[in-house]
């Protein structure tokens, strides 16, 4: 059996070093990799009319890049606030999509029209907005320096309240009823009511919780320093499993059947079985991957170290 080994670390400095490792035939195509702005961290997917697009936040360029999902062509790059780290999509009553960007150093979020990137508004948040989630009506933003989350009405950005959570809240997710926040320095997640922000519980997870998502009926949390993911019951908050992944797991997404985890420290992406938590395959794309999202057909990953985004 021959094993295709990726070239050594030296090669990462070229803009398009991508190697796929086929294992059990699971990942057959070569990923498509495209340069974006500097230090891409968060990404999201949105329809622009009939065109499916991917939006990437480039934190050191202070821009977001819009790409067409079908072929990766860049449709635009738009200026936002200082240090954009996260992006999320909201859908308005008419079905039109808006893109929200968390500007970590300006303490604001920017709302853009998905069709043309026009800025629809800039709204204040707490200190250090780091994570974003949409609950159908509202945008929830974690304020990592204030240890709180803020709820903004998506239609007009109105401030509907700020709620205390744990230390250094990073990732945030909606499970259909409640909001879940990963508190990186408390090693816990906080569960809040999406209706009024009441804290419904604080639950222990692993070391350095970073990203959180709802997938397969459970809450999943990556533990950045603990090199594993925790699976929690959304009703009780009890951990039902802990699964080893790579170093520095920072991003989570689901395609319905699998959980995709980006390992920022080991520079790879893992595909886990949503039921068993077993790692089914590992892919190497770019250096220091962060954000990951599913566009209905493909998984997209933002690589902070190589300033690229890849479609798997």
């Amino acid at each position: 059996m021959t094993i295709n080994c990726p070239r050594t670390v030296r090669v990462w400095s070229t803009a398009f070093s991508v190697v796929a490792v086929a294992l059990g035939g699971a990942l057959a195509q070569t990923p498509l990799t495209l340069p974006v702005g500097r230090g891409p961290e968060g990404l999201t997917v949105a329809y622009d009319g009939a065109t499916l697009c991917v939006w990437v936040a480039n934190q050191f360029s202070n821009t977001v890049t819009k790409l067409r999902a079908s072929d990766g062509s860049v449709l635009g790059a738009f200026q936002v606030g200082n240090r954009p780290v996260a992006v999320v999509t909201s859908i308005g009553p008419s079905g039109a999509a808006s893109i929200w960007v968390a500007n970590n150093r300006s303490n604001t979020v920017t709302k853009l029209q998905a069709s043309n990137g026009a800025v629809l508004g800039t709204f204040s948040t707490g200190g250090g907005p780091q994570g974003l989630a949409f609950d159908g009506q509202n945008i929830w933003v974690t304020n990592e320096r204030d240890n709180s989350v803020i709820k903004l009405r998506a239609s007009d950005g109105a401030n509907l309240g700020t709620f205390a959570v744990g230390k250094r809240p990073v990732g945030v997710a909606f499970d259909g009823s409640n909001i879940w926040v990963a508190n990186q320095l408390s090693n816990t997640v906080t569960k809040l009511s999406a209706l009024d922000g009441t804290t419904l519980g604080n639950f222990s997870v692993g070391n350095g919780p970073f990203a959180v998502t709802f997938a397969g009926g459970y809450i999943w949390v990556t533990n950045y320093f603990g090199r594993n993911v925790t699976k929690l019951s959304p009703s009780t908050g009890v951990a039902v499993g802990t699964y080893a992944v790579g170093d520095g797991p920072a991003g989570l997404a689901t395609d319905g059947t699998h959980l995709w985890v980006t390992n920022n420290g080991s520079s790879n992406v893992m595909k886990l079985d949503l039921g068993t938590g077993n790692v089914l395959g590992t892919l190497v794309v770019g250096r220091s991957p962060f954000g990951v999202a599913f566009d209905g057909g493909h998984i997209w990953v933002a690589s902070f170290g190589t300033n690229t985004v890849s479609r798997l």
């Binding site: 670390v9 500097r38 050191f60 240090r83 780290v85 970590n104 150093r105 920022n264 080991s266 170290g305």
Partner: protein, 642 residues
């Protein structure tokens, strides 16, 4: 499954017992119970150890001989030793036997038949001689006028406290250059080197460290002494790859001119690039943390016509040495079995200690007169960040201000009044404390220099500021004595002006970007690791550059240090550097990159050629590859993401 520190399995019950024993011990320490009280309560044996009560045993699995971790150090009584005023390294003449072969512009590469190694370690790169390299740049223009010798040696009888709970220590340190170990032993901190600008100097260092397995299981007898952060040529800078062996010597030559002396500010350099408080310490690649921890470090002070050392002249800063006191902060762990300072070279998160040493003594006291003093405070590592305050232990609620006058050895344009100062590893702050004014305004008869920044592991402080007045966080107790005395030094409240900041308006020739990242449990810069054989980029000599340092949001906190030049912070996270509550303005050589920080640094690179490092000064991170080499040559490159 539970494991004790030696890796042996424990039942859950025993594990919980061990944890609770440790917590109880920590609470005892927190409660501030002195040894006398503990003894009266029957909790201390005559040997000074906590008795085996269920939950209190010092030997409960968790601590024991050979164990080196927070909470296991034996209890000690604070403020029983006076602060050591570190001796000043004496000047020598070239007639001294140590200079039998006088310093020469190029290294003495002749082979010593006794060791089969070159006599001088200069010219070696990563242990291998490169003949013809590392001659002293500018030696003929600025011939040395002052000469010094230091010998790096082991001292097996060094006391860090008179508390009998702690044994005499085996340290590796610098001596004052003499031959006789009884009259001139190695000390920690090493002797303070006192020099003046425009008086070029050479310090010859002999490596006489023992070979073989080192006491305590840490320390490597190969050293490279870095003068942090002088404007030296790489041949004298003591970088990570220029280490030398036991049995060799190494001449370190410093022109003692400010930056720009050969370019835009001939012949002596820009006075606004004056440095004052520096330190020297070992920098051997892969082993810096353990060697510095073992004692290989000391202060190096520079005076000139403004910062004169005489309060009746120049800027009128408090007179040296009586009222100008360097304070070397070093936190340590003690092995409870051997009573010795301990270090585990197999860890790579960093080390924080539970014993605070200042100038080599655990929590000393210092009697001060009712007047102003200058203190030069240095965080000597290995990993702890400090934020120090002045606390009146008899009234801890009082918020007592003092004056910060320098950052990383660079005098600020004017003093800034503060109530605390934060320093990471290798950073220095100079402060002026007016004990007369404080005694009057606050009724204080004693003051603690107290560290209130909580840090429980080597990664980063938690950010929490602990309440004031906790004895275990006190670094030094100042005892204010006598009547007010004559004070010829300037009162910082009058707003004296020191140097001007060099301008940051020139357009940089290039802007370079550096991402500090995690890579499989190690730390990398732009995805690559330290390698003595790789020079990552070339700066054009006598040009200006902007460097952008970026820490991703998942990262640790890193104090990043660049050798050779001081920088000015143009922005931190897009904002101009603040001067309150923590002073980040002025010239510095260490930048604290916190979670998700971006910092823009402005540099002028002048005068010298060849290679220097940039690295994280959490010395344990540094030893695990968070470093790179760059160089200066006549033609620079255009690599913006090296």
């Amino acid at each position: 499954m539970y494991f004790n520190i030696f890796g042996y399995k424990l039942s859950r019950r025993r594990w919980k017992e061990a944890l609770s024993a440790q917590k109880n011990r920590q609470e005892l320490i927190t409660a501030g119970l002195g040894r006398r009280e503990l003894f009266k309560l029957g909790l201390l044996t005559s040997g000074g150890y906590l008795v085996a009560q269920s939950g209190l045993s010092a030997w409960a699995d968790g601590c024991g001989p050979g164990v080196c971790q927070l909470g296991c150090s034996p209890p000690t009584t604070p403020f029983i030793d006076p602060l050591t005023i570190v001796p000043i390294l004496p000047e020598r003449q070239l007639t001294d036997p140590g200079f039998a072969t006088p310093p020469s512009v190029c290294p003495n590469n002749a082979i010593n038949p006794a060791t089969q190694l070159p006599f001088e370690g200069r010219g070696q790169f990563n242990g291998v001689l490169r003949p013809g390299t590392d001659c002293f740049q500018f030696f003929n223009q600025f011939p040395p006028q002052k000469f010094f010798i230091e010998r790096m040696r082991q001292n097996t009888n060094f006391r860090i406290t008179s508390d009998p709970n702690i044994a005499p220590q085996t340290i590796w340190g610098f001596n004052q250059g003499g031959i006789d170990p009884t009259t001139d032993p190695a000390i920690f901190p090493g002797p303070t080197i006192v020099t003046r600008y425009q008086t070029p100097m050479v310090v010859r260092r002999f490596n006489e460290l023992p070979s073989g397995a080192p006491a305590g299981g840490f320390g490597v007898p190969e050293t490279s002494t870095h003068l942090h952060n002088f404007h030296s040529g790489p041949e004298s800078d003591g970088g990570p790859c220029r280490w030398f062996f036991s049995g060799q010597y190494f001449d370190y030559y410093h022109t003692m001119q400010q930056a720009g002396f050969s370019f835009d500010f001939p012949p002596t350099g820009d006075v606004n690039e004056t440095l004052s408080t520096l330190w020297y310490h070992d920098h051997r690649v892969d082993h810096t943390a353990e060697n510095v921890y073992k004692g290989l470090a000391g202060f190096h002070l520079i005076f000139n016509q403004f910062d004169t050392g005489d309060e009746t002249t120049g800027f009128h800063l408090p007179s040296f040495p009586q009222f100008d006191i360097p304070l070397f902060l070093a936190d340590k762990l003690i092995d409870p079995g051997s009573g010795q300072i301990c270090f585990d070279t197999f860890g790579f998160d960093g080390l924080v200690g539970d014993k605070f040493l200042v100038n080599g003594k655990i929590q000393p006291f210092f009697e001060v007169q009712k007047r102003r003093y200058r203190f030069r405070v240095l965080d000597g590592g290995p990993s702890r960040f400090y934020q120090f305050f002045l606390t009146n232990p008899d009234n801890p609620g009082q918020s007592i201000p003092f004056w910060q006058i320098a950052n990383d050895g660079n005098l600020l344009p004017t003093p800034i009044q503060v109530t605390s100062a934060r320093i990471g590893v290798a950073e220095r702050v100079d402060v002026i404390i007016d004990f007369n004014q404080i005694a009057q305004a606050f009724g204080a008869t004693r003051l603690w220099l107290e560290n209130r920044l909580e840090q429980v592991n080597g990664r980063a402080p938690t950010g929490k500021i602990l309440p004031a007045g906790q004895i275990q966080n006190a670094l030094v107790e100042f005892r204010i004595t006598g009547n007010p005395v004559a004070d010829g030094s300037v009162d910082p409240a009058t707003g004296p002006q020191f140097y001007n900041l060099p301008s940051t308006t020139p357009t940089p020739r290039i802007t370079r970007n550096f991402k500090f990242e995690r890579s499989n449990g190690q730390w990398a810069i732009n995805g690559q690791f330290m390698d003595c054989n790789v020079i990552r980029f070339t700066v054009q000599r006598n040009s200006v550059e902007k460097w952008v340092l970026q820490n991703s949001s998942g990262g640790w906190q890193h104090p990043i240090h660049i050798h050779f030049e001081e920088f000015q912070l143009l922005s931190i996270d897009g904002q101009p550097p603040p001067s309150s509550p923590l002073v980040q303005t002025g010239r510095k050589d260490v930048i604290r990159l916190e979670f998700g920080t971006t910092a823009e640094l402005f540099f002028r690179f002048r005068d010298f050629r060849n290679d220097y490092p940039m690295h994280c000064h959490n010395t344990v991170h540094e030893d695990h590859a968070m470093m790179l080499l760059w160089q200066i040559q006549d033609v620079g490159d255009n690599n913006i993401e090296p």
